[in-house]
Amino acid sequence: MLIRRSLLIIPASNADALATAWSHDADAVILDIQAGVPPSQLAAARASLPDSIAAAGQGGADVLVRVNAPYWHADSNAAVCPALTGIVLPGAESPQQVADADAHLGNLELQRGIPAGRLELALSLETAAGVWHIRELMAASSRIKQVAIDEAALAAALGIVQNPSLDPFVYARGRLCIEATAIGVQPVAVLDPTRLGGDELSYDDKLRLATDARNLGFKGLVCVHPHWISAVNAAFTPTESLVDYYVQVREVFAQALAAGTAAAPFAGRMIDVPVDERAKDVLALSAACAARDAAKQAALASAGRQTGP
């Protein structure tokens, strides 16, 4: 089970952000050489990508690189190395673009001694055409494990300024979650950046926003600042009380089955097969999150020994 709750995105040219990216407990770090990098620094950012990828991954995070749509070819050439988890392709509108990127990653795997098919391709949709054609886009590559809508880019494409009280993306977000789930790809949320100044938001605000995203079907959230990560990891990890509830659901349901029925009342609700199945899913997710956290802890400890005083 892929556990990638928090995806910290930082400009690949930002040395300060890069120096500490590994230490924030993000499940993934996205090194951005698209929007975040001024054109004058693009060449330098590309050249240092292999080192940046290694640095960003010290804490056990998966490391992805968001490429520029017009230069995805050259950017991918600069990014692909054995430590890279995958490429984030922005703005795809046609299945051919996705298939081309898929083929190119295949060539790079072959040239650079990476097992075939290991590199991921994540889609970051930026236009209405991408949203409309999402099914065809996702079907164009078996490397796709995650897909997101960059809501700020989509708003600009629609000619609107995002207003949190009049949500323009209920349709787009819903379509993303349904179509991605239908094909077995994880939908990843990118929240409205007008709510992401961050300083004025409390931990509880962030926890609530991320929990709402999880309750739409998202499996993770792109974080534009490290102070989002702990709230996002918490929101996408089953809480203790939820785990307790589902442990009891499993017991009640097992007793019901033993008594010859598969429906039993519990805490005012009716417990039957789908609730018991959901209980199994939540308990498995909880275990997988714990395993992911343990792996990150181990990596952090080891990184601490290497870089410590």
Binding site: V170, T181, G217
Partner: protein, 340 residues
């Protein structure tokens, strides 16, 4: 447009067919339908036993005038259909529908069984329930796969939540897209939409009669006609909530009277301030004193069509209520006769 096979579904209880005390007692609850479940409320070890009960349970649930409905298992479709397609059955719910070919296969089997068992062709409807993301993605294909699909809905509930990996009852509408896709498919194909306005619910209680009435009332006013539930406490509130009241019936007659006047004058619409009208003996508009939204009314062909539908629906509800009352009275009279 009412379908020739249209059956009212304001209220209905879903119950495990293997629990005899539920099946035996359900007839006097006043349900429009009783949904005998072979699926999620029946343990795997009892699936065969469950099938063996269906044919003889049909007359039991029919006693009070309720329609016999069945929910079969997605993965046991053929064996289940063989056990449930008997005279008296009117509707088979197929859970977790995901592809058109599943529905076409069901249609073939039901068509054969109707012929073999002397059931008039086309009697049995298929309830293709959308409960997964794949089902939403293929909604139109599924809904258009057979003329036996007459009402269509889903895309929320426990199964959908499990598929998306979300908790329910979180206070906001999590399923806008999926419900929209499914309802658009239903409306594009002229099927009765199985939908309702969103009402925040953070309890998940299945037995609250006040809540059941409020939801049914809101659904009726929004134009929806289909209910159903899990607990006997919600049956009567749903029947009441889905049935038009006298004020609405009077209002519908008033709209049609005004529309006739409009048609004579070769106008297409008129706006009427209902507070400027003097109440007469005949039909009149709904009282707007506690609902300012009702003060200014537009009369046009859409309002006229809505009024005509409401009167037709009210007539169907009254007929259905009489049918059920008479059936229950017959059972009680027979029991009294036995007792004396």
């Amino acid at each position: 447009m009412p379908h020739p096979h249209r059956r009212l579904k304001r209220s209905g209880l879903t119950m495990p067919i293997v629990t005899d005390r539920f099946i035996s007692n359900a007839w006097h609850r006043g349900c429009d339908f009783i949904n005998m479940d072979l699926e999620d409320s029946v343990p795997p070890a009892l699936k065969g036993y469950a099938r063996s009960l269906v044919r003889r349970s049909i007359p039991v649930v029919n006693k009070g005038g309720a329609d016999a409905v069945c929910r079969i298992n997605h993965d046991l479709m053929e064996a289940d259909l063989d056990a449930v397609i008997w005279p008296g059955m009117v509707h088979v719910n197929y859970p977790k529908a995901e592809y058109g070919h599943e529905i076409r296969r069901m249609d073939e089997i039901i068509t054969r069984l109707e012929r073999e068992r002397g059931i008039r062709p086309g009697t049995i409807a298929i309830g293709a329930n959308i409960e997964t993301a794949v089902g939403v993605a293929n909604a139109y294909e599924i809904a258009s796969a057979s003329p036996r699909v007459r009402d269509f809905g889903g895309a929320s509930g426990y199964d959908m939540s499990r598929d998306l990996g979300v908790e329910m009852f979180v206070g906001f509408d999590q399923f806008v897209y999926g419900k929209g896709e499914v309802e658009l498919a239903a409306r594009a194909l002229n099927l009765e939409p199985r939908a309702a306005p969103f009402t925040p619910n953070i309890t998940g209680s299945v037995s609250d009669p006040d809540r059941a009435f409020a939801e049914a009332d809101a659904a009726r006013q929004c134009g929806f006609r289909i209910g159903g539930g899990l607990h006997p406490f919600v049956v009567e509130p749903q029947n009441r909530g889905f049935t038009p009241n006298d004020a609405e019936i009077s209002d519908a007659h008033w709209v049609l009277d005004e529309y006739r006047k409009l048609a004579v004058s070769n106008e297409t619409w008129v706006q009427i301030d209902t507070q400027s009208l003097t109440p007469g003996d005949g039909p009149g508009p709904l009282d707007s004193s506690d609902n300012p939204n009702l003060r200014h009314r537009v009369i046009d062909r859409y309002e006229a069509a809505r009024a005509a539908e409401l009167l037709e629906w009210a007539r169907l509800c009254a007929d259905r209520d009489r049918e059920k009352d008479e059936a229950i009275a017959r059972v009680r009279a027979a029991a009294d006769a036995d007792a004396t």
